[in-house]
């Protein structure tokens, strides 16, 4: 809200400026495509070409000392790369907050910022992260563990640099309350806490990240398919299953316990009503150590038993990441990428481990003796066996999934648990709910463009009750069908009947799928044509004594150019243009003007792929 207000104040200022004729232009297309080969380095490691002064803003974790450490690290980077001067404004912003602030206004956000993995998809969707260069991607893949590389990747494209590989949770406990032989059983632990009058802190009702542990224990999964733009295209989720009910039953043991507290704060150990167990991650280590002193201990999560079967609690394992905001300036972009690479290297990761105990993602740093001796990281490593690498997930999932735990807390029967999971599933499916228009729209789907698995729907547009696809490049042997609402419930085959056989393409080249549908009989006619009333071009002008009234159809050629069906007798001085879809939105002549015939003759008229008109003598 505050952000919005500042935006408006900024606006008011902008208006004043505009009035003062210092207005701003449309977009700041600061394209600095530096294609000068003499000044460019051959290898990215040679950064002398990037010499210059850069003002940047950096957001790092608000944990004590991290900001100062980052400042020193940036200074080290400048020292290593003489010529590069970076004036960095380093600010402490929590990892959750930084993503929200970036999304609220990318332009006002930091150039370099740290965030937790669950925010990645949102950030990619908001264009708040610049893709990594090809060479850099390779480097990151070599230097870091697999989980963290996966964590930085969305739809096959790497968007950021892994900083830690410790964003998972495990169990901190109070040695004086919990006997060591009870550590494996959730039931025993709950009993111990209740007996001691202490709390068992696990953030079940307010965070899906923690409560998913029970579902992973019973083998449930929630996997989301995401394209490289960050758009969610589908979900494979079986929380609503018998195993899901078992998971909720296990969760109920803790939810219904009097000792349960939905929290993950390390300071719970020293609260007014203290906890004996807190499920949290490495970021709480310092607080827990301070609260427990000699009683500090950590280990993996316990198991629970339902109907005689034991399930070890799973967990998410994820990463903290550092990303670069997309820049208009090539050099600045390159410097920021190099700096981010530097900040995520072995040296910097170890420095952060020493300061705040963050577990490195760098393979070499992980082998460091101090890292291996850390109690919390050891517990994390122990839990790793049961952990699920955190995939990229639809942002709304975190909101939706925490609610079944609330339902489970009040539920008394299996039916109620099932109902909670059904609501959960319905809401998740609702994320992909299509609008009425989308449901009624027809699409072409088939093996074109190498889509052998028939995964991509090619949209069609409707004009006068006829559906037209855009130009599709076919190869002989391709097959396709048309379907409605991107589902196979209503589809038409080559015989025009519902569920009919595939339409087989017999020759190479571009084509338009034209389709008419009769709703009453659920039949239709599919045609593959070389011209189209919507996407096709036609020639119009003073040809054959016509006065710009009749469109002469053109056909698309195998190379994507357009050619009239027949040759026309053209006189010198005849004028015409080629236009798309029988309208004037897109038309080509001699540039934007009409094409003028210079020498009379009989010609075919051609529209080349770069939208120029050529005359081809018959």
């Amino acid at each position: 809200m505050k952000k919005r207000i500042t935006k408006f104040i900024a606006l008011a200022m902008a208006l004043v400026m505009v009035l003062a004729l210092a207005g701003c232009g449309k977009g700041n297309n600061n394209k600095n495509n530096n294609n000068n080969p003499t000044s460019s380095p051959d290898t990215p490691s040679d950064l002398s070409a990037l010499a210059g002064t850069y003002d940047i803003t950096v957001w790092v974790s608000e944990s004590a000392g991290v900001a100062d450490l980052t400042k020193t690290q940036i200074a080290d980077f400048c020292k290593d790369n003489p010529g590069i001067v970076i004036n960095a404004k380093v600010e402490g912003v929590t990892e959750a907050e930084s993503a929200s602030q970036m999304i609220a206004s990318v332009e006002d956000g930091a150039d370099l910022y740290c965030f937790a993995q669950d925010q990645l998809v949102r950030l990619v969707q908001a264009d708040a992260l610049a893709k990594l260069g090809t060479a850099t991607q390779q480097k990151i893949t070599e230097l870091n563990d697999k989980t963290s590389v996966q964590a930085a990747t969305v739809g096959g494209v790497m968007y950021c640099y892994p900083m830690t590989s410790d964003n998972g949770y495990f169990m901190f406990y109070d040695k004086s309350v919990i006997p060591e032989n009870h550590l494996d059983s959730l039931e025993d632990l709950i009993a111990d806490c209740e007996k001691a009058g202490k709390m068992f802190s696990m953030e079940l009702t307010t965070s899906a990240w923690y409560n998913a542990a029970f579902f992973f224990a019973t083998g449930c999964k929630s996997e989301w398919t995401i394209d490289s733009e960050g758009k969610i295209t589908g979900v494979d989720d079986n929380f609503n299953s018998d195993n899901g009910v078992i998971a909720l039953k296990g969760m109920q043991k803790l939810l219904k316990s009097k000792a349960f507290n939905s929290s993950s704060a390390g300071s719970d150990f020293s609260a007014a009503v203290p906890s004996a167990i807190v499920v949290s991650g490495t970021w709480s280590t310092a607080a827990v150590k301070e609260a427990l002193g000699d009683n500090y201990a950590a280990t993996d999560l316990p198991s629970f038993t339902v109907d005689g079967k034991t399930y070890h609690l799973g967990s998410y394992s994820g990463c903290k990441l550092i990303g670069v905001k997309p820049q208009n300036d090539t050099k600045k972009s390159a410097v920021l990428q190099q700096l981010a690479l530097y900040l995520s290297n072995e040296k910097c990761q170890l420095e952060r481990f020493k300061l705040v105990g963050w577990g490195p993602s760098n393979l070499n740093a992980q082998k460091n003796a101090d890292v291996q001796a850390d109690v919390a990281l050891a517990a994390l490593a122990k839990q790793a066996e049961y952990a699920v690498p955190q995939p990229q997930i639809h942002g709304s999932w975190w909101d939706i999934a925490k609610v079944y735990a609330v339902s489970a807390k009040d539920a008394n029967t299996d039916e109620e648990l099932k109902k909670a999971l059904e609501t959960y599933e319905a809401t998740i499916k609702g994320l992909f709910e299509m609008s009425v228009n989308e449901k009624e729209a027809w699409t072409v789907i088939g093996s074109m463009n190498g889509d052998t698995n028939w995964t991509t729907d090619i949209p069609m547009v409707c004009k006068n009750d006829v559906w037209y696809s855009e130009a599709i490049k076919f190869v002989a042997g391709d097959a396709f069908k048309v379907r409605q609402g991107k589902s196979w419930d209503v589809n038409i085959g080559s015989d025009g009947k519902a569920g009919g056989p595939n339409f087989d393409v017999t020759e190479d080249g571009y084509g338009f799928v034209v389709f008419t549908y009769d709703k009453a009989t659920n039949t239709g006619v599919i045609k593959l044509e070389k011209s189209s009333d919507v996407y096709g071009f036609s020639v119009i002008g003073t040809i054959n004594g016509d006065t710009w009234s009749k469109d002469l159809t053109m056909e698309i050629q195998p190379d994507g150019s357009w050619l009239t069906k027949e040759a026309y007798e053209l006189k010198a001085g005849d004028e015409f243009k080629a236009r798309q879809g029988l309208g004037w939105d897109v038309s080509y002549g001699n540039g934007g003007d009409n094409y003028k015939v210079e020498t009379a003759g009989t010609y075919y008229i051609k529209l080349t792929t770069d939208n120029k008109i050529e005359l081809i003598a018959k």
Binding site: Q125, A126, T330
Partner: protein, 643 residues
């Protein structure tokens, strides 16, 4: 005040209820005799007969307006300037026919096959009950037809009544709204008329002023004025041609080409290439439109100003110089000078953001389409549909549920503070209470601590592992801590009680001041007449308080509807209510519409469009309550009572 006292002496205010002599206004209501059943039936048929008869007689007797009112609802009202009524009639007719032709009639026909209808499995969850959607809609359609007939009857009867009034030479009753609309239309008409009249009658200077702003001033020697006009015109044209027009033209679909990233192989880095930004297009587009409106106003000033000069010259008067203008600004036109800054401020910081927010509700502006990464565009009423589409989402249910709690909260929070604050003030004001100042300061202490600190502190205090629970366990009331914020009833009571704690001191201060102002002789004469303290309170204190604090009461009610601070700081982290599950922002038991809106817009989906729709709906709720409340208020109704 003297009036009040005199009135009190007359016995209007202070006399207790038991005194029957004051009941002068009571009308003698005729005692209804129990009619026999036969009489009832007879009466009913008679009424129906009259109704049918009047249907024909009115058509025959009525004027042409009334006759047309049979077809066009409210036509008779419209022609005679009863705009508000006519608008209601017309809107009803339009909506009725639109709905009935589109789906209502088909639904009514469906009622013929009740069995099939009740087999429909689609339910709508309303107040925790499953209701057949189709059956409900069919019954609704039938009811609508009945309502339409009644409205139809009122249409031509109303017009006929107007006919009679005209015949009797009496005035047609018009509401303030009607008068406003008529005046507005007249003003617009005058404006248009003057536009042409001035052009025809004006001198050549004035005619040229239509094209060159301030030309008339320039020729008449008002250099400074002319310079301002010309400068405005020049900068406006420069801005519009270079920037404004492009923004306005793009408003139709808020941008065509999005941004993308290009790979730079030399530096192995991606570079962003900016495209259209829908957010900026909407922002600057609307600003440019506003600027155009300003330009029209200035244009009008230009030729009107020149015409005034023409007149002055005709009358042989002196044309005011810039010095005179400056003098006017601080003298006869000082009100304008004073109001300029606030007016500009309100336009920029209130009106413009509101226009922008309202427009956002008609786009698909959210996290995935934020203008910077993905373009957004106009979507019409789709967001409103989404909110109330109970089939595809839980949003509609959540909205109604949260709205009800918001209203309950607003009533509780406002009146608990109001009456407890007053009570506290009365207590402290009472004769015989010692250390009055100490008590007052003690309660005012809560104001001294910034509200958000005390609220956050309270939130922690009542946490499951907080101090309150520790103490309750220590004292043996509880064995294990109780989760106040996760329990519906407990959390709702808590927010109200804590709100009393932070709000009562303000009321106490206000009430203290007012109570001390009530003339003591009122109470004295009341006591002499034998009124007990409660009667004194009801007849003197409360009316007095209500009269003075009426506007305060209304604003604090509105403020409580939008009381973000108390709810968010106290229970912002409370777990969601599983019945209010919605993607992108599940609400908790104590969430108000405003905090829900915050969760939605700041949540994982950054669903600004939906938040904007909810914002509009909150605005509608608030404005309806304001208008009704303000009109009911004694301080508005009986303005002279206490002067």
């Amino acid at each position: 005040m003297r009036f009040f006292i005199e009135k009190a002496r007359k016995g209007d205010i202070m006399k207790p209820k038991t005194n029957k002599t004051t009941g002068t206004k009571k009308k003698s209501v005729p005692v209804r005799k129990r009619k026999s059943f036969a009489e009832g039936v007879k009466g009913f048929f008679k009424a129906v007969g009259n109704e049918i008869k009047s249907f024909f007689t009115i058509f025959v007797d009525g004027s042409w307006r009334t006759k047309l009112s049979y077809v066009i609802f409210g036509f008779g009202n419209l022609v005679l300037g009863q705009i508000a009524r006519a608008l209601f009639f017309l809107a009803f007719e339009a909506l009725f026919f639109f709905y009935t032709i589109k789906s209502g009639w088909a639904r009514i026909l469906k009622l013929g096959n009740l069995k099939e209808l009740t087999e429909q499995v689609e339910f709508v969850r309303l107040f925790n009950k499953d209701i057949h959607v189709e059956l409900l809609l069919s019954i609704f359609s039938v009811l609508l037809v009945v309502v339409c007939i009644v409205v139809w009857r009122n249409s031509f009867h109303g017009s006929y009544r107007n006919d009679k009034l005209l015949k009797e030479g009496r005035k047609i009753p018009r509401s303030a709204f009607d008068k406003g609309v008529i005046n507005f239309i007249k003003a617009v008409g005058n404006e248009i008329k003057s536009f042409f009249v001035i052009f025809v009658k004006g001198s050549w200077r004035t005619k040229l002023s239509y094209v060159i702003f301030g030309f008339g001033n320039l020729v008449c020697g008002q250099i400074a004025r002319a310079a301002l006009f010309l400068a405005f015109e020049a900068s406006f044209i420069y801005y519009i041609i270079n920037f404004g027009l492009a923004w306005i033209l793009k408003l139709d679909n808020l941008g065509d080409i999005g941004s993308h990233e290009e790979y730079d192989p030399i530096f192995d880095t991606y570079v962003r290439v900016n495209g259209d930004n829908s957010f900026k297009i909407l922002l600057y587009g609307v600003l440019s439109v506003l600027l155009c409106i300003v330009c029209i106003v200035v244009w009008r000033m230009s030729f009107h100003g020149s015409y005034e000069n023409d007149k002055l010259l005709e009358e042989g008067k002196k044309i005011p110089k810039f010095k005179d203008d400056l003098h006017d600004i601080v003298d006869s036109k000082f009100h304008r000078t004073l109001l300029t800054v606030p007016a500009i401020g309100i336009t920029m910081f209130t009106v413009f953001p509101i226009i922008f927010m309202i427009l956002v509700a008609f786009t698909n502006y959210d996290g995935a389409h934020d203008g910077y990464s993905g373009l957004f565009t106009w979507t019409g009423w789709a967001n409103f549909m989404e909110l109330f589409n109970t089939k595809t989402s839980n949003l509609g249910y959540a909205f109604v549920h949260i709205l009800l709690w918001t209203l309950v909260w607003a009533v509780l929070a406002t009146f608990s503070n109001y009456f407890l604050g007053m009570l506290l003030a009365l207590l402290i004001n009472k004769k015989g209470i010692k250390l009055k100042k100490m008590w007052r300061s003690l309660f005012v202490m809560t104001i001294a601590v910034p509200q958000f600190i005390s609220l956050l502190y309270m939130s922690k205090l009542f946490a499951k592992n907080g101090l309150i629970n520790m103490l309750l366990i220590k004292w043996g009331f509880l064995e294990f801590p109780f989760d106040f914020w996760a329990n519906t009833t407990a959390s709702r009571i808590l927010v109200v009680v804590i709100n009393i704690w932070v709000g009562v001191p303000y009321l106490m201060l206000i009430a203290t001041g007012i109570l001390m102002n009530i003339p003591e002789d009122l109470y004295e004469s009341a006591r002499i007449d034998g009124a007990n303290p409660f009667q004194q309170y009801m007849k003197i204190t409360l009316p007095y308080m209500l009269f003075i604090t009426g506007p305060y009461l209304l604003t604090s009610f509105i403020g409580n509807i939008n009381n973000f601070n108390v709810i968010y700081l106290l229970a912002g982290g409370a777990e969601a209510n599983s019945n209010l599950l919605t993607s992108g922002g599940s609400a908790s038991d104590v969430d108000l519409l405003i905090t829900w809106l915050f969760k939605i817009s700041m949540g994982t989906e950054s669903n600004y469009k939906l938040a904007s729709v909810i914002g509009i709906l909150i605005f509608m709720v608030v404005s309806v309550i304001s208008v009704i409340g303000f009109n009911l208020m004694p301080s508005n109704k009986n303005e002279e009572d206490y002067q």
